[in-house]
């Protein structure tokens, strides 16, 4: 058994690639093994229909950690984020609400709906920045174990304690609220206009099986503000060529430091000898040995598929089995013959930004109720982007691609029959709802790809289709992510590490877990 590599990373998602890039940069001979034919995991672009390229799963980028962009010099490797310059929500009464890249226009538009909210909006944004600043140090540290903190953990706790102390009472109180409240209640304290409240709530529900009135969602909102720090990005953005481009940029950085990346190389098992990980066995029977193995997969795959239960303590197995995924979103990708015609959107320039099918707070909450009772929303929330409006190369001339992130769709839709029937019914609900807002949609669809949470699990190996590799609820954050005592990227198996979104600081295209895991691996001298 010869060690061909210093480190093997299982999974070429953006966090696995980030981990690999950092290890390679530190001089480790690193190999990334990706199951599929493309890199990126959930951050992937594919030519789904001839000539039409889609960002298949994740669709916007704003959370990527600035230090990762800096340290891996991602701009040099092709990272190119184009800001989303507007957001528009058609309303059920034929009106619309929009926000623009230009602040003055946004304020004018808000004033059209509520004078008071126009005054509040900048204050709300300012407060969210302050909150993001308040939690920023938490995002960047390895979570201690409250039961057995050790000297390092005590040090971390002391530093965090001092940081929190320095924030002052008012910020800490607001932070307590944002950690515990529902996003609906949270924005209720700021805004009066229903549509503004609904739109402000959206980032609180993305990726969770929770409605805007469910407590815990204010934190998810905050999670989505993290990326707006440091001036690295000023707004949500779309990567040129789709989010797969982000993964490609990170992969390119990794390669430049000497990492090797193999696609079509699914790992069946981590080889463990005497409590130590020594290599991986591929599905084709090949075995590759290395000093360090890191898994970018979610906790279920990392602990329950890739290694044998007998290598793990019972309490960890129990905790991993309790870990909640509950994917809540699907994706519908449309190849279009022309641009859709939204009744309420008169200015075609607004189609360059995102279109939100979220006409009211009740609409969102009812969409959640449908899924909460088991199934998908009959009238779902949709976040639509038409990337060909700014990057025409993604479709043949004159044609368009439309990417629709849809919530809510439950992983388990048992009452709708087989998976094929579920997919059909879910896709129909999406298109029917969409046609209420854009009546010509049915006439211009050339091709349609519908992904349910089940499909996302099947395709990307995300358990229950959860895009965050596990829900971002308080009981699954920080030192509980993914399990108490194992939130420091290590595992009970020596030299086996976790580096995916199932670890702190969690999901989204942040690259935070990959970076922190790499630093821990290097710290251990591996």
């Amino acid at each position: 058994m010869t060690q061909e590599y210093d480190a093997i990373i299982i999974g070429g998602g953006h966090n696995g690639l980030t981990c690999a890039a950092y290890l390679a940069k530190a001089g480790r001979k690193t190999l990334v093994l990706e199951r599929r034919h493309v890199l990126g995991g959930a951050a992937v672009s594919e030519e789904v229909f001839p000539g039409f390229t889609f960002t298949v799963c994740s669709y916007v980028v704003s959370l990527l950690r600035p230090e990762v962009i800096r340290e891996l010099e991602l701009a040099k490797h092709g990272l190119h984020i184009m800001p989303v310059d507007s957001t528009v929500a058609p309303l059920e009464n034929g009106d619309y609400f929009a926000t623009y890249a230009d602040e003055a226009s946004t304020r004018e538009e808000i004033r059209r709906h509520s004078h008071r909210d126009a005054e509040m909006a900048p204050k709300f944004t300012q407060m969210m920045y302050e909150m993001a600043f308040a939690v920023k140090p938490i995002i960047g540290v390895v979570p201690p174990n409250p039961e057995k903190p050790g000297i390092r953990g005590l040090g971390t706790m002391k530093e965090l304690g001092q940081h929190l102390h320095g924030l002052g009472k008012d910020t800490l109180h607001e932070l307590t609220k944002i950690m515990t409240m529902s996003v609906a209640d949270f924005v209720e304290e700021w805004y009066e206009s229903d549509i503004l409240k609904a739109l402000a709530s959206l980032n609180g529900i993305i990726g969770t099986l929770l409605g805007p009135k469910s407590p815990g969602t204010a934190y998810v909102l905050l999670h989505h503000y993290m990326g707006e720090l440091d001036g690295a990005f000023t707004a949500w953005g779309q990567q040129k060529g789709g989010t797969g481009g982000v993964s490609e940029a990170i992969a390119s950085a990794a390669r430049s430091h000497g990492a090797e990346i193999r696609c079509n190389a699914p790992v069946a098992q981590v080889i463990v000898k005497n409590g130590r990980a020594v290599g991986v066995a591929l599905e084709n029977g090949d075995e590759i040995y290395a000093k360090t193995i890191a898994s970018g997969c979610d906790p279920k795959v990392t602990f329950r598929t890739l290694v044998d239960e007998k290598e793990l303590p019972d309490d960890l197995v129990a905790a991993i089995d309790k870990f909640k995924y509950r994917g809540s979103s699907g994706k519908v990708n449309l190849a279009l013959d022309a641009l859709p015609n939204f009744t309420a959107i008169k200015d075609p320039a607004l189609l360059r930004g995102s279109v939100e099918i979220c006409p009211s707070m009740d609409y969102l909450e009812r969409a959640y109720d449908d899924a909460s009772y088991g199934g998908f929303s009959e009238r779902p929330y949709m976040d639509i982007s038409i990337p060909t409006t700014s990057d025409p190369t993604m479709a043949p001339p004159g044609k368009h691609v439309m990417s629709i992130f849809v919530q809510y769709a439950r992983y388990d839709m048992a009452k709708h029959g087989t998976h094929d029937e579920q997919r059909q019914a879910f896709g129909d609900a999406v298109i029917n709802t969409l046609s209420d807002f854009a009546p010509n949609i049915k006439d211009i669809i050339l091709h349609k790809q519908v992904l349910t949470p089940w499909d996302i699990e099947d395709k990307i190996a995300l358990t229950e289709g959860n895009i965050f590799q596990g829900e971002l609820t308080l009981d699954q954050l920080f030192f509980f992510r993914p399990a108490p005592g194992w939130a420091d990227y290590r595992t009970p198996i020596r030299n086996y590490y976790q580096c995916g979104s199932g670890t702190h600081p969690g999901g989204g295209i942040t690259a935070g877990p990959g970076r922190l895991a790499a630093l821990e691996i290097l710290r251990d001298g591996n």
Binding site: H165, K169, H173, K177, T180, D185, P215, E365, D475
Partner: protein, 528 residues
């Protein structure tokens, strides 16, 4: 007009407890009550001739044993009947689950629904008791003014040492993990039987406007667990003479320590001079001065009515405005000619099974759906019912052979989006009776009289804003150092000399006496 050391505004149970402790600590105390009786929301009323009801607050088993002992309530005549079963939960299919005080006996009952759950139940109870021990410890201290810990906090944190030792280091993570969880997730980790989960989850939502899927309902479950007289997730104490007898006994104990109580004496304003509370003006024009004023009114009433809003900072006003109340429970009182037959009890020992709390909460999804209606300003078509027939424990509450039944029905919003309560109160009552009739089909035949109080009625009759009996929702963002408003969770207010001693203060609602006891302790601590 004597000079008093302390004036307590409101003779609810917490005001009376605070007054009694203060008098016991040597202060001259006057309690001023707007109503013509003491008790606040914990009263017994003869709603129909011969039928006595605990009109608003119910649940006699949550009173702090420490308060009961310190104020010698038993020797003042307090009698609380320890009902067993703790829960009788009839099911739509005619079966039933009974939770007894004895864990082993309950496990046997659970076997009918799931052998696996029956085996796990004792472990669940043991763990929750440990977690609840720490929650109970936290209830008895003044929350530290985070992030600044003072020396005094260390002194109070010592109180947590015992419960934390019992909890064990191994369970610390479990406590931190469970507190912010939805009760549904917690129970799903333990059990498979919907019947069992529905019976327990009800305690997570009984005192809150949330369904079991809402994060924070595991905390409300532990809150009930920490306080209940059963060592389980809810109390089963039935006060002899109804809840009014309990508050009357506290008043009697308070008087025995020298407290003076005036009823029919509504306070108009707290007199504030140079930022300091110095006395009160009454609605009848009288005025009293005192060194300390303790308000048993809820925080909204205290800061918007009792203290002149014009002298308050914008920040305080904003915090007070943002307190969520959101009452969602209706009280339905039935005078019964006889005990109705329950499908689940044909030929059974009705008097025993019905002597404690009866719950219509057959599954967690049932509770969730019952809640989901209020999100849209509508009442449940299939409400969760929490029923007590106290006359089975205390026959004096009703004419011989007849009974009183009080139902807490959830969920009913404070404000209806369609129509108003004046026109829909009766329709809701019918919904409640229809629901009950699925389990006790002849219920309508045995009703002699009935009365329904929806949240606005509770506000009108008991001064509970939005009909919330807890003086503010018991949610995680309104708990501990955030209760009732951030920065003032230690019973003190922005106005020196003015204190809060009601359920709006830490730890919150329920007829526990703990806010009153804690407030008195803090007042005495500040005295010197």
């Amino acid at each position: 007009m004597g000079n008093y050391d302390v004036i307590v505004i409101g003779a609810g149970h917490n005001g009376l407890v605070a007054a009694a402790y203060l008098a016991k600590g040597g202060r001259r105390v006057l309690v001023l009550e707007r109503q013509d009786r003491v008790g606040g929301a914990a009263v017994t009323e003869e709603l129909f001739p011969g039928f006595h009801f605990s009109t608003c607050a119910d649940g006699g088993g949550y009173l702090s044993p420490e308060v009961r002992r310190d104020l010698a309530l038993d020797s003042n005549g307090l009698k609380i009947h320890a009902a067993d079963p703790v829960v009788f939960a009839p099911q739509p299919d005619g079966s039933h689950l009974t939770i007894w005080r004895d864990t082993a006996r309950t496990a046997k009952e659970i076997e009918a629904f799931s052998k696996k759950d029956a085996a796990r139940y004792p472990d669940f109870v043991a763990l929750m008791q440990k977690l609840a021990g720490v929650v109970g410890g936290l209830m008895r201290i003044a929350p530290p003014d985070l992030p600044e810990l003072a020396w005094g906090d260390l002194r109070s944190l010592v109180k947590l040492a015992g419960p934390l030792r019992k909890l064990g280091r191994k369970n610390l993570n479990e406590l931190l993990r469970v507190l912010p969880m939805p009760v549904a997730d917690l129970l799903n980790e333990w059990f498979e039987s919907e019947v069992l989960k529905g019976a327990i989850a009800a305690s997570g939502v009984r005192n809150i406007t949330w369904g079991p899927q809402e994060a924070g309902t595991a905390y409300t479950l532990l809150y009930d667990w920490a306080l209940s007289d059963t060592g389980l997730f809810r109390s089963a104490g039935v006060v002899s003479g109804g809840m009014g007898a309990l508050t009357k006994t506290i008043a009697q104990a308070a008087r025995s320590f020298g407290v003076e109580i005036q009823t029919g004496a509504g306070v108009e304003r707290v007199a504030i001079e140079e930022g300091r509370a110095v006395g009160v003006q009454l609605e009848n024009g009288e005025a009293h001065t005192a060194k300390v004023i303790a308000s048993n009114a809820d925080p909204r009433t205290t800061f918007t009515r009792l203290v002149d809003p014009l002298i308050q900072s914008a920040k305080l006003a904003r915090h007070v405005r943002n307190i969520k109340y959101r009452g969602s429970a209706a009280r339905i009182h039935l005078a019964l000619r006889e005990i109705p037959e329950f499908n689940a009890l044909r030929g059974g020992d009705t008097a025993t099974y019905l002597s404690g709390p009866i719950q219509i909460s057959p599954s967690m999804m049932y509770l969730q759906r019952a809640y989901d209606c209020v999100k849209y300003g509508e009442y449940s078509q299939k409400p969760y019912l929490d029923i007590l027939i106290p006359s089975l424990s205390d026959p004096t509450l009703a004419p011989s052979g007849q009974h009183v039944m009080s139902i807490t029905a959830k969920f009913a919003p404070n404000e209806l989006r369609v129509g108003d309560w004046a026109e829909r109160r009766e329709a809701f009552t019918e919904v409640v009776l229809d629901t009950l009739a699925e389990y006790a089909p002849k219920i309508r035949d045995v009703i002699a009289h009935r009365k329904t109080l929806v949240p606005p009625d509770l506000e009108a009759e008991f001064g509970l804003p939005e009909g919330n009996p807890n003086h503010g929702e018991m949610t995680l963002d309104q708990f501990f150092h955030m209760r009732p408003i951030p920065g003032y969770a230690r019973y003190r207010t922005p106005f020196p000399g003015l204190y809060l001693c009601g359920a709006g203060a830490h730890p919150g609602g329920g007829v526990t006496g703990i806010p009153g006891q804690n407030a008195a302790r803090e007042i005495l601590r500040d005295w010197s």
